[in-house]
């Protein structure tokens, strides 16, 4: 803190309370690095260089001139790659200056080629301008500044060119009389300083303006696109503090600080930094620009809007609402339609987050955005509408049409981010409809798509929410097919790409828990599934309740399960969460079965069927049909059951999960068994049933679902017995016996469950 005070010296060029960063109106300052570039230019104009090398050097000039300051070592290396001879000459020249006296540097500046019409460095060329700029800047320096420049040149040279002088010059002073204790301390210290040094040239003390800008730009880009590659939050914070200590006016650093604290969910620092940033921005906005007043008010509006988004991120919807109202009011007062559109899009997002219907607002937003030619906001609105429409059961072709239309817009304006979202949305919609193949195909499309944005810093943008969603769906699809190996791989990747502290990590966490839960339930390890329930509940309350009911049902604590399901149904009807309602209905029906009350479940199942058909939820519809067929079987109408089952069998085998496939086939076999006695071709029927059971068994064995496998073996044994195939019967009976011994739990009556 103290040194911040010290650094606040009064700027002589402060007018009207605003400090101008540019004290003498010079954009370029002579730095040691610039001197190295100048000497390179000097060498290039004076000495003879082969054409090939000259060409390479010429290509190098622009990036060197306009890029951030480099370390001498880096600089020499880049030059050396093009032309070793010149690099050597440059080094010699710098050495002359650094190891010589002040006059050597002064001499160098006087000998610099004066850009004229005839020389290679033409007066108005890039190089000519640069040289003239530098000369001008150098000539403006006062004596003490020149001396300081020389000192820093010496420092720069010795830092870049390792000589006998110890690398860390600040330690030199102590080393004259090092005691043993000190030596130990030094040894402890030095590896630390070394790794800091090797890791990133940035982490040492002050940076030049350009270096700082480059650093900020790079880190901000990384934070946006792949924050695993950015510096660790703590480290980045340290860097920023360092930067701000040396230049408290560097507003962008505050913004990066805000982004960084958002990463670690620190509301205090992020609010503080955000406000600080805008306080600073308001200043720079009003500084001298032609549209001074405009820029100033503008940043105010966006400041309020950003504050709203911050509160939204942290789930403070009421505060976000207030901030948003404020932004809207200011934007309205100053007739800023673009800002208003942004506000509107936040408004409907906020409404949506609060759980209320916002489709009217969204439609308005889309219309207005289209009117003001804001393609980004327009298609964002359409996507939001599609999402709402999908939940509300709009017809599939409308949704897909809308998405297709926006896609055209995205490609036209190359809005790669929105393309990703659109693909992710398609995946989700296909999944919701129960078309796993289509979903899979879209997921692959998204994951294999190369981004439209230019690749900077070796990072492609692949840590957006869209990617997380796609990967989660993919994991679930794999799990449904019993490919747990693939699922684990996907989660490993997700964990790397979205570490637990990041924003989108919750997506995969919930997904992971759900998959584990399902797996344990299938295996019949309820005691393992039970501890997962609170974890799921922490992520998603509704889902957690539903899972709890499932566990309770499996543990035969029927009354408790029933109560929870009732509560859940009421809740979901309020929030219009159709998928959960259907699942709750199915579970309730299953509860009724447990008490052998099959007819009570029927109306529930029929309700579920209507709902799922209305919302085009094919997977759930087929599952409901399965339940219906089972009920009919139990009610003693196997023929009806079989015909209902046939309706569901095809979609299930085509799209359903492996568990559903197995269950459907087993049910089919049981219907066939029930028909054996009545049909004339009983034996054939029985043989068909055995075959169907075999198929079901193969599905169950991939899932390693031993309980159901045991049921299958039992049924098979009985069938074989009725056919008089003793050998096969004995084999099945033996398999059954083995499984039974392994499971140790008494076998639930097969009739009672699907």
């Amino acid at each position: 803190m103290a040194s911040v005070h010290e650094s606040l010296y009064f700027n002589p060029m402060m007018t009207n309370g605003v400090v101008h960063a540019n004290v003498f109106g010079i954009k370029d300052w002579v730095t040691p690095y610039k001197i190295s570039v100048l000497s390179l230019l000097y060498e290039m104009t004076t000495s003879k260089i082969a054409l090939q090398e000259k060409r390479r050097l010429n290509k190098l000039i622009l990036p060197l001139q306009q890029g951030p300051d480099l370390q001498l070592g880096q600089f020499l290396k880049t030059v050396e790659d093009c032309c070793p001879q010149t690099a050597f000459a440059v080094k010699i020249r710098l050495n002359e200056m650094a190891d010589g006296e002040l006059k050597d540097m002064e001499f160098f500046f006087t000998t610099l080629p004066n850009p004229t019409f005839d020389s290679e460095a033409y007066k108005t060329s890039v190089v000519g301008l640069f040289i003239r700029h530098m000369l001008l800047a150098y000539n403006k320096l006062s004596f003490s500044q020149v001396y300081k420049l020389y000192k820093s040149l010496q420092h720069y040279y010795h830092m870049g060119v390792p000589t006998f002088v110890a690398d860390d010059s600040d330690m030199d002073l102590t080393s004259t009389e090092v005691t043993i204790g000190d030596k130990m301390e030094r040894e402890l210290d030095s590896p630390l300083t070394f790794c800091v040094r090797n890791e990133d040239p940035v982490s040492r003390g002050p940076l030049s303006q350009k270096q700082a800008e480059y650093f900020l730009a790079k880190q901000a880009y990384l934070l946006k696109n792949d924050d695993n590659k950015a510096l660790r939050p703590a480290k980045l914070q340290e860097e920023l503090n360092n930067m701000l200590k040396f230049n408290p006016d560097f507003a962008e650093a505050h913004y990066l600080n805000y982004l960084n604290s958002m990463r670690v969910q620190d509301i205090y620092i992020s609010t503080h930094s955000l406000l600080h940033y805008f306080d600073r921005l308001i200043l720079s906005g009003s500084e001298g620009k032609s549209n001074g007043d405009e820029g100033y008010g503008r940043s105010l509006r966006y400041a309020a809007l950003n504050l709203a988004s911050l509160h939204c991120r942290f789930g403070h919807y009421q505060l976000a609402d207030l901030a948003l109202q404020e932004a809207i009011r200011i934007a309205q007062e100053s007739n800023d339609h673009v800002c208003l559109q942004h506000c509107l899009s936040w408004l409907y997002t906020l409404e949506q987050m609060k759980g209320s219907d916002s489709s009217v607002l969204t439609e308005d937003s889309v219309k207005m955005a289209a009117h003001f030619c804001l393609p980004y906001l327009a298609s964002l609105g359409i996507q939001s509408l599609v999402q709402q429409g999908a939940v509300q059961g709009k017809s599939a072709h409308e949704l897909m049409d809308a998405l297709k239309d926006t896609d055209i817009l995205h490609w036209k304006h190359s809005l790669s981010e929105l393309i990703e979202i659109s693909l992710a949305q398609t995946i989700s919609i296909w999944r919701m409809y129960g078309k796993s193949t289509m979903a899979q195909q879209q997921a692959q499309l998204l994951l294999n798509m190369s981004s439209l944005e230019p690749v900077n810093f070796g990072v492609t943008q692949n840590n957006t929410e869209a990617f997380a969603v796609a990967l989660c769906h993919l994991a679930e699809l794999h799990a449904e097919q019993g490919l747990y190996g693939g699922t684990t791989e996907i989660f490993k990747h997700l964990k790397e790409q979205f570490p637990p502290h990041t924003q989108h990590a919750k997506l995969w966490m919930l997904c992971d828990l759900k998959i584990q839960f399902e797996k344990h339930m299938n295996d019949g390890k309820y005691h393992l599934a039970q501890p997962l329930v609170p974890a799921i509940r922490a992520q998603n309350k509704t889902e957690g309740l539903y899972r709890k009911a499932q566990v309770l049902k499996s543990l035969s604590r029927t009354t408790e399960a029933y109560r929870i399901l009732q509560k859940l149904q009421v809740h979901c009807e309020k929030t219009r969460c159709t998928e959960t309602i259907i699942r709750v209905l199915l579970s309730t029906a299953e509860l009724h079965w447990e008490s052998s009350d099959f007819s009570t479940g029927l109306p529930l199942l029929l309700q579920a069927l209507t709902l799922s058909r209305k919302h085009h939820l094919q997977a759930l519809a087929s599952r409901t049909l399965l339940h219906l067929a089972f009920t009919q079987l139990m009610l003693g109408v196997p023929e009806q059951a079989l015909s209902v089952l046939h309706e569901a069998l095809e979609p299930i085998l085509a799209h359903g999960g492996i568990m559903d496939k197995g269950r459907a086939l087993m049910l089919a076999a049981r219907c066939q068994m029930a028909l054996v006695a009545t049909r004339p071709n009983g034996r054939e029927q029985a043989a068909v049933a055995i075959h169907t059971l075999d198929e079901a068994a193969s599905y169950f064995s991939t899932l390693n679902c031993k309980e159901r496998l045991r049921d299958v073996r039992y049924l098979q044994a009985r069938l074989h017995s009725s056919l008089g195939q003793t050998a096969q019967r004995n084999r099945c009976a033996m398999l059954f016996h083995l499984l039974d011994r392994e499971l140790q739990t008494p076998r639930a009556p097969t009739d009672m469950r699907l």
Binding site: M1, A2, S3, H5, E6, S7, L8, Y9, F10, N11, N16, G17, V18, V19, A21, N22, V23, W29, V30, T31, L141, S142, S144, Q145, K148, L149, S152, D170, L173, T174, D182, G205, P206, L207, S208, Q209, A212, F246, N247, P248, T271, L275, H276, D279, R280, L283, G285, S286, Y296, L300, A304, L307, L319, L322, A323, Q325, E326, R329, I330, E333
Partner: protein, 578 residues
């Protein structure tokens, strides 16, 4: 020689003579070492005590062998030091071994580094480099001092210097430890205590420090209580110090005045400052605070006199510039005021008050962006400056961003939890955001912590009126009126009339006519409410007439029961209809 002092240190207040002796000896010690501010402080205190008789004067210090050896070099170096030629002083002291010489040697090196740093800032090599200017000597000093420190060779003064070096290097934790050690070795050196004051940020930290029990600790505690805004504690401490015999000390008077200023007890503070000016007419320190008070009281002639007086004494002092800035501000010449605050900052960029005051000036000039910058600078200098936070809040309030300014007001409130102004400001913001519940809480809290401007209750009442919480509103108005009349002076009668008007109507509605007529009569005392008051009085008398008839009616109805012949009251016409 420091041993000699250590033996004294565990004295209690009782012996003022001893204290005086200690002060005299420490003055000479500090003087030898060029610690001018500590000398000043100690001398001021010593001056406030009765003079000692000749034979009781403390003997001049024992001179050690080493001191004798270094005598000439030290004298030479000290003369160079006094002439601010620090490098030269250090050069001649480099071979000396005595502790005194060693301290001066290190101190010269430190000051030389500081001076160079200040000079450097003027011609830096680029915009980003301006923050990079550092006192290059610090690192070396730290290395050398830490070595000696580990060996236990540092005396009180060098410990102090070591602490200062650590603080400048931002090693605050270590610095606190060293300063505490310094106060233990040499409790009489006020500089160490003062540095400690700047480093202690909260009361918990203060409690965790183990400080030597010496009379000087009471001064320290009082000072730090003022810093930490624990004014009652500070005032109590200072009072006990005055009673112990330091009643003549200008230092204590000024400190008490500042403390009163901090709790906005303006009259007390003004009286003390006037006393101070009488005792010490050429004093410039704290005069900026004095001018703030005069400004708040809008005492133009006094402020103008003070400004002229200070300009005569020394016009290139930060305090003088602040006083002149205040003077111009009071005369609504805000450009000039800003100019003078800028000048103050030029003289000392770390001057916190000037940044804030400049922010206020820019606010007056409607230059919000410059105001924001000034306030931000103030916050950078001291994060705990509540006025700057409050100012930022006000700026955004002017820009019509009530939600946005909530954050700033909240910050200010955090720093001054018992200041009603922040609470009222917060309440107003909440009211604008139509968060009435929060607003009511704020206003009520503002009243409970002692409302300075007496506005909180009125606002609360109006809010309750809006929310049609009539009883609560009436209650608030009643307390408001009581408050206003109990404080004696009439502030703004307009608002009293509003309260009276409301109360009149309220009582009228609740059929408490006596109270209502009382309120209405009081209303008539105020111009703007006279007509309404009269109207209400008329209404009351009308209703009273009517109520008399109904009471007659009641009587009639009662009598009706007795005499069944006259069944219908004269007003009841309905039954006459056929």
């Amino acid at each position: 020689m420091s041993k000699e002092i250590v033996t004294f240190t565990f004295l209690e207040f009782g012996d003022l003579v001893q204290i005086k002796k200690q002060l005299i000896s420490v003055i000479s010690l500090c003087k030898e070492r060029g610690l001018v501010h500590s000398v000043k402080w100690a001398s001021e205190l010593a001056f406030a005590l009765d003079p000692l008789p000749k034979d009781e004067l403390p003997p001049s210090h024992l001179v050690s062998e080493e001191d004798v050896q270094d005598l000439d070099a030290f004298a030479l170096a000290k003369s160079y030091f006094d002439l601010k030629e620090y490098d030269r002083a250090a050069y001649f002291l480099r071979g000396c071994h005595s502790k005194k010489a060693y301290f001066l040697y290190m101190y010269s090196r430190y000051l030389s580094g500081e001076k160079k740093k200040d000079d450097e800032t003027v011609d830096s090599l680029g915009p980003l480099e301006k923050g990079q200017v550092r006192n290059e000597a610090l690192r070396e000093l730290r290395v050398e001092l830490s070595k000696k420190h580990r060996a236990g060779e540092l005396d009180g003064f060098t410990l102090y210097l070591y602490g200062v070096v650590l603080r400048k290097l931002d090693l605050l934790k270590e610095a606190v430890e060293v300063f505490v050690e310094a106060t233990h070795t040499l409790p009489l050196h006020w500089g160490s205590w003062l540095e400690l004051c700047n480093l202690v940020t909260n009361i918990e930290m203060l409690k965790s420090l183990s400080l030597p029990s010496c009379w000087i600790k009471d001064f320290f505690m009082a000072h730090i209580y003022t810093e930490l805004q624990m004014i009652p504690g500070a005032l109590q401490k200072y009072q006990s110090l005055i009673e112990a015999g330091f009643s003549k000390s200008t230092y204590i008077i000024s400190q008490i005045a500042v403390a009163y200023h901090n709790i906005r007890d303006i009259d007390q503070a003004l009286a003390l400052f006037n006393e101070l000016r009488e005792q010490d007419p050429y004093r410039i320190e704290n005069m900026d605070t004095f001018s703030n008070l005069l400004y708040v009281k809008s005492m133009k002639p006094e402020l103008s006199y003070l400004a002229h007086n200070l300009v005569e004494i020394d016009k290139y002092r930060v305090e003088t510039c602040c006083v002149i800035g205040n003077y111009y501000s009071l005369r609504s010449q805000h450009e000039k005021a800003a100019l003078y605050f800028q000048r103050a900052l030029k003289l000392n960029p770390r001057c916190l008050g000037a940044w804030t005051l400049m922010g206020h000036e820019y606010m007056e000039m409607k230059n919000t962006s410059a105001a924001i910058q000034a306030y931000r600078h103030a916050i950078e200098v001291n994060k705990r400056d509540y006025r700057a936070w409050y100012g930022l809040g006000q700026t955004y309030e002017i820009l019509k961003m009530p939600f946005y300014c909530l954050y700033y007001y909240r910050k200010a409130h955090q720093l001054r939890p018992n200041d009603s102004r922040m609470l009222v400001a917060l309440g107003e913001c909440y009211e604008k955001l139509s968060q009435q519940v929060e607003a009511k809480k704020c206003y009520w809290r503002a009243f409970s912590v002692g409302d300075v401007e007496k506005m909180a209750l009125l606002k609360l009442a109006k809010l309750q009126e809006q929310l049609t919480e009539t009883d609560e509103a009436a209650q608030s108005y009643i307390i408001y009126i009581q408050e206003i009349f109990s404080c004696g002076e009439q502030l703004e009668h307009v608002e009293v009339s509003t309260a009276l008007r409301y109360l009149g109507q309220y009582y009228f509605k609740n059929k408490l006519y006596d109270e209502a007529s009382l309120c209405a009569q009081r209303c008539c005392d105020y111009n703007d409410a006279r007509e309404e008051g009269k109207a209400l009085l008329r209404q009351i008398s009308q209703v009273r007439d009517q109520t008399e008839t109904p009471s007659g009616e009641l009587f009639v109805s009662l009598s009706d029961n007795n005499t069944p012949i006259k069944r219908v009251s004269p007003l009841n016409l309905s039954s006459f209809t056929p």
